[in-house]
Symmetry: C2
Subunit: 515 residues, 2 copies
């Protein structure tokens, strides 16, 4: 079935039109709050932080109040009576708004405030604990955060497992059993592929270029030219620098990404940039007809992550992209002007490692599986925060054969839990799963758009199938409509098997690198 072109007037039902009109204030506050977060990470003078925190908390509380308004609930009830006659956008709008109202109403203001208070202290405690490599500093806060997570789950409600309620906050409709099914395939298959990679030795465990230093001033131009190559619309977007790279959207025509130049191992900033580009493209290619409605914007963290992973890994680390990267780099960063096969091996090292953010495509999901298992057990109460470091280290050793020497390399490495984000990690693997499904839908190893590095073609394909829809369909429904089935891990296994086992055995790799 052919997908219609951009809809001219997606929302026509009079009640929904009034609702969208009145929700415009909420979108404006969202816009303001996004800008305040962006500025906080990029340009704000350091001493401005306390005023900013107060302003953000006032505005967040107001948004929470508006979302729980009686008028909104009444409008939803009124509109639902006509749901049979509504188009997909209108149904999507009702679904999205009702979901937000439900979440905001389920969580009592007291609990929301308590979470904000605990996490603001917990982030600082986590920073100190990590710096001093001492889990005991963070432990009491983590205990409180797990308690709050459980309370949230009870308030939100769930069918099978309290963890379901937390997953759903980040990924509408994702359940514990979905994640379990995903990993029941991914974990053993990954271990099998990893063993094959190590046996064959084509993909190196490390590469001398990883130790090479570069000047930050020089690579700023490379970053901009890389975005030019990817078709970055400078009139609608920005690139800035921040300690932790991120993407933020202030609207369809104002999407901003950041990058961090560490001064060594240039692949780190290059792929971080392509990652954020993927997130940004999803926002930039929304249907303009959805602007100023709650339907605009990526539908979930998992689908968002699929976009960033697709551009970072499936496009950016593919052999066909290497000549493009090499030609840019030869001018701006001559250390990368090595033989194409060397550049390919440099950006595709594979090794079991302790740190998630340093992990490669093959081992990455094992890190997520570990976190998922531990989160689930914490929430159901089958392990305590006392037992957590030992459980972490054991599972790490079982999965990857290496054991953290200290908490900083293990249980303390990620900021997420200190921010109260429990149930978030699985969306990273879900993103990898969906990215591989996109790869398969494009033709897998034979995908013309990838083999020709047809970047415009890829953008259009993603726009039409995924981006333009915003939040119109729930995540599982969108993926089924766009890629033929709900998220399922087989394509990811197929992709890893192809790239990491089969590709180096054929002459195709050299052919691709010479293109």
């Amino acid at each position: 079935m052919a997908v219609k072109a951009v809809s001219k007037e997606p929302i026509t039902h009079p009640v929904l039109r009034r609702m969208v009109e009145r929700l415009r204030l909420l979108l404006a506050l969202n816009h303001a709050s996004a800008l305040m977060h962006w500025d906080l990470e990029t340009y704000m003078p350091p001493s401005g932080v306390s005023d900013r925190a107060i302003a953000l908390s006032e505005i967040t509380a107001l948004m929470h109040r508006i979302t729980r308004s009686d008028w909104l609930r009444e409008m939803i009830e009124e509109a639902k009576r006509d749901i049979e006659s509504m188009n997909v956008y209108e149904r999507g709008l009702l679904r999205v708004v009702e979901r937000e109202v439900k979440i905001a109403s389920a969580l009592p203001e007291e609990l929301v405030r308590k979470e904000a208070l605990v996490t603001s202290k917990a982030v600082k405690a986590w920073e100190e604990a990590k710096r001093r490599d001492d889990y005991s500093i963070f432990k009491p806060y983590l205990g409180e955060i797990v308690e709050i997570a459980r309370e949230k789950a009870e308030k939100l409600g769930y069918e099978d497992h309290p963890y379901d309620a937390l997953l759903d906050l980040y990924e509408e409709g994702l359940r514990t059993r979905d994640v379990e099914r995903m990993f029941s395939v991914i974990v053993p298959e990954t271990l099998r592929i990893l063993e094959a990679v190590e046996r064959r030795g084509f993909y190196p465990r490390s590469h001398p270029l990883e130790d090479e230093a570069y000047e930050k001033e020089r690579v700023r131009r490379l970053a901009r030219r890389l975005l030019d190559l990817l078709g970055w619309p400078w009139s609608r977007g920005r690139l800035d620098e921040s300690a932790h790279p991120f993407t933020i959207d202030l609207g369809i025509n104002d999407v901003r990404i950041t990058v961090r130049y560490e001064g060594r191992d240039p692949k780190r900033f290059i792929y971080s940039l392509m990652h954020e580009y993927g997130h940004a493209l999803y926002e930039l290619q929304q249907d303009p007809a959805l602007a100023y409605t709650p339907l605009r914007g990526g539908v979930s963290l998992g689908v968002h992550e699929s976009q960033s992973r697709f551009w970072e890994n499936i496009v950016g680390r593919s052999p066909w992209f290497i000549p493009r990267l090499r030609s840019l780099a030869s001018e701006e960063l001559p250390m990368l002007a090595v033989e194409p096969i060397e550049l390919y091996r440099y950006v595709n090292t594979v090794r079991p490692s302790l740190i998630r953010v340093d992990a490669d495509e093959v081992t990455y999901n094992l890190h997520i599986y570990l976190r998922f298992e531990l989160e689930k057990k914490l929430v159901e109460g089958s392990i305590s925060v006392n037992e957590l470091p030992e459980a972490w280290d054991e599972l790490m050793e079982k999965l990857l054969g290496i054991r953290p020497r200290s908490p900083a390399e293990g249980v303390l490495q990620d900021i997420h839990w200190s921010q109260g984000s429990i149930g978030y990690f699985p969306t990273y693997t879900l993103g990898n799963v969906i990215a591989a499904m996109i790869w398969r839908s494009l033709g897998g190893p034979r995908a013309e758009k990838l083999r020709k590095t047809d970047l415009k073609g890829l953008r259009e394909w993603l726009r039409e199938r995924i981006h333009r829809w915003g939040k119109t369909f729930p995540p599982k429904g969108l993926i089924k409509k766009a890629l033929g089935s709900e998220p399922s891990p087989e394509a990811l296994v197929e992709y890893l098997e192809w790239k990491y086992v089969k590709l180096p055995e054929t002459g195709e790799l050299e052919e691709a690198l010479a293109s």
Copy 2:
């Protein structure tokens, strides 16, 4: 009477404490809206403008609604019953909030919306009219804007003259008769001083350095070093670039200024920077005890302008500052490493000119007088927008002896009217008047802090007398308390007479320049 040190707890009355607590949301929205304006002028991608406009108008409307809330009006009435027992801060708070409520309530939402609509079109029409040098393009919009200004005056109410109501919007308590009295001294005295300057010839009409080009890249460092010299707190402030320089405060610890590098005539950016610095210092030196209350921030446009003019003209263009500027410039911008007397003459040219923003200290207020006279007549209906260009040109010729060759050099030169700002211009001269009163209070020609370029001493003096008080006292009251009398033009005449007539006749100038 010694002024108390920073007050620890300015607001103790329980009703006022509750009021401040509830008004925190309004301050948060103000903070957000200031950041949105700053970003709009500095970093926003151009296509983001339409989303930004919608978000800003939603938030502005919300602020307007909050200001007119019944609960706020009731709290004011309740608190006023205890006014006799209140301290100066509490009385100030009541005055400030009541004034805002009164203004917001007087102007019907319909009129506010109409003004926003007309001015958004008028700014574009003005830009086109100025570019095409054709007043007829702007005239109908100006007609509507004058109509709206009259309507506003009627709604706001006034005693003597409808223009009073408009003046009061920008400068609490300023009346038409105050401005008339001011100019009745300033205009004849300025003409007399101007004649003396021209006769003597010490201050040149123009200077060869005005035509010199510089590289923007080089002066960025000079700008930062100039701010270092002035004691700029980089952890609490920023310097960025924008088409029109401005200052914006997001709180006591986040104050941002912008500058524009035009590529020639470096005194333009140097003094524009010192001007914005003066505005910023007023915000940076607020009493921290006023943070998150409606008392924080500059009390009026006139007092604000006095701070910018003081640093730009009275400090920055003084002979004592010239050696400091020269020593900075010798490293960063060697074209300025001329003899001190030449540098002094370059930054202090005096000539009758057609364009207000290019005007010098002596002639500047004549430009304001012209606008004041015409605005007053437009509002009272004694001239029409049809007659305006001719009236402009005639008064210009009468005052300065020169006549615009076309509307772009005359009636079309300023953006203010297109933005609906009628009654705003007089605050510029009021700023000059107050700046000169500060000069006199410091000791006039004998002011030690100026003669020693004791910048820290000047900052402290201003902080203690003016800055720390925020909006606690109304503008006239603050000036009387700080400088001994309500704003009055004699000090300005004395200052101009001293600097432009007496100083070059004595040996003191050379002594100052050699210091």
